[in-house]
Point group: C2
Chain length 435, copies 2
Amino acid sequence: MVEKRKPIKVEEALKRVLQYAKNGSTEYVSIEESYGRFLGEDLVATHDVPFFDRSPYDGYAIRSVDTVSASRNNPIEFKVVGEIGAGSVFEGVVGENEAVRIMTGAQIPEGADCVIMLELVTESGEQTIQIKRQVKQGENISFIGEDTKKGTVLASKGTYINPGVVALLATFGYKQVPVSAKPKIGIIATGSELLEVDQPLEPGKIRNSNTYMIMAQIERAGGEPIYFGQFKDDLRTCYEQVKNTLEHVDFLITTGGVSVGDYDYLPAIYEMLGAEVLFNKIAMRPGSVTTIAVKDGKLLFGLSGNPSACYVGCELFVKPILRTFLHNQNPVLKRTQAILGQDFPKANPFDRFVRGYVTFDGSQLLVHPVGLDKSNVVSSLAGANVLLVLPGGTRGFSKGMKVDVLLLEDQEGAPVDTFLAGFEKLNRGDSDEVI
Amino acid sequence: MVEKRKPIKVEEALKRVLQYAKNGSTEYVSIEESYGRFLGEDLVATHDVPFFDRSPYDGYAIRSVDTVSASRNNPIEFKVVGEIGAGSVFEGVVGENEAVRIMTGAQIPEGADCVIMLELVTESGEQTIQIKRQVKQGENISFIGEDTKKGTVLASKGTYINPGVVALLATFGYKQVPVSAKPKIGIIATGSELLEVDQPLEPGKIRNSNTYMIMAQIERAGGEPIYFGQFKDDLRTCYEQVKNTLEHVDFLITTGGVSVGDYDYLPAIYEMLGAEVLFNKIAMRPGSVTTIAVKDGKLLFGLSGNPSACYVGCELFVKPILRTFLHNQNPVLKRTQAILGQDFPKANPFDRFVRGYVTFDGSQLLVHPVGLDKSNVVSSLAGANVLLVLPGGTRGFSKGMKVDVLLLEDQEGAPVDTFLAGFEKLNRGDSDEVI
């Protein structure tokens, strides 16, 4: 009755899944809707910045040659022949001992080759100023292309669009912004103990919280979650439901039903679909029963029905596939280290992902596990901002030790290679058998 | 012509603005739309968790008294009288030497007072099992309310709704979620040099990037930006525009027009409105001309037209007001320290907010300034994830020194008090006059 499963390491599981990662398409949205999306094409400077020689200060545009002999004891008088407000241009040419009042950002007028700041000038008459110092050629001019050259790639395809990127898009005229299309991710909940959110509780039942949690995780990662409801009871109906849903989505997530219990249909459904099961057991907790299969190139994520396991499975395996779909080059959780703020005496036969909360202590990261890492402890997920990575085969950790943490709310992510290397480097013990 | 302005310290400016901070209203959205919003009421456990005594494992529910004499050498036989799948209940009462097969999460049947795990049991016949160890009363039972007691506040009003909070909302039956209404924040751009995003460039002009950047900053902070277009040229029209817009928004942001130049109408408009100017000069860079006024309790944020100054002004002054409107208790940017990764030799007569990029070096935060902190350097904003806080009156900073940083992409924020204290503690020099 109990099927024997062979557990694989977390990094091996991720490698197998990533073989089926693919990029999605690109679509256009207005710049007002672009925040929080991912660039569907490289963001290229469509012109030099500055686009024209401009003044970085309020002041007077003059010819440097006219200031050569200027000094405190030898003030030179200039005739103010015009004024350039921001956005306007001076039509004439600045001649000998002539000055044009210029505002910050305005174009340097023809003839002038430097700017003297307003504060350094004395008004000596209605239309005259005095200058008491030499100004060099090019002084106080921001030259064409000085900031950015036309054609420069300023943010590459797949970059998360933050407010600074939006500013760049506006600067370079992207009224319509090419963004990565969001993957449509179907969700089916399984479990005869599940009630919908608006159903009253009854003995033996719990409300379906995993679906809504995963929907939020998918949104956070940049995808479009679509909830297809709960499984009906018989196997044939379940199979049809999975098969039909799969046609309408880019990936499918199921929650629950992947254990080896009598009521868990998913292994049978994978077989009926003719889907290839990439693995059905991972040497990790929570989430050891996480099962991932592939059917005609589409991934089916079988996440555990346990909320913590479901959460971890989604972050570790769904997110990288989702972010790759968005063309993002850093599709996995960013990993760093933190000082453990309290003892964690539990032995770890397997790699363990413990919900934690990171704070800052000076320039150091400090992490505390949040709640207990028991089954169904939903309440501690709300307060977690990291997952601690505690390697398998270890006998517990003491306050003050450095541990690896994965950042949950970070939007930058990390490249796959460094993430995998992080797992391969883990100082695991020898108890991998003890699954 | 040039108005003399009296600069105040950053913390003093923030204190003045916060006097006008107010909470917004609460509205309801479906749980599917709740991710990324802020709780409009405390999230309360509407029932105990577990809601019934349940089994944390697959196994058999039995009476502990029947195992008192069980041992390896004295296996006790139990008759399997039923089976409880997840979601179903056992109708009978477990009697002497009877066992009921129970699935993870299922309700403990009447009569039973402990559970033995599946792995520790030997099937000895069609409907019989053998138990070779004593099981204690209460062993392997998750008791009613063990995880969470009914009535517990699990997340307070104003909390950012992350996926873990969504899971809690679902668990406790919040099909409709009370969320803080988003403040409507109007934006008006000023500056005759501004082109709209879809207009072709021309000499002397630049495209309006600040508006779109601020819209994204407002969205990131949780507000609803509304762009009301660019100022028309004459003062009377501008005044009417500000006056009318103010009636339709919770706060109003203007960009540009707050300097002391000839073309900057805002000081005049504040006067015409009868608005109280809280300050019009701050001892900081960029953004020294940031001006904030209040009219009938509504704040008018006059941000600089310089993109960096505009960005900083929005994060330092608009965000705390916005987050307070959302009932959030941590409305200001989270502040920590980081090791400076390179020299920053520039002297700081005033507090300086430098765009930076933080990385992790082991469990340490390391920060590098991004680009130069010049006017109009838009490109570096896209790559920044922090603002370095470099106190005024200092002569530059060396690699390896600890500096304060404000986290831009963090959603947790910090309480006002600690933020203000952070500024008050700054090791400033004596050059406050040098504005």
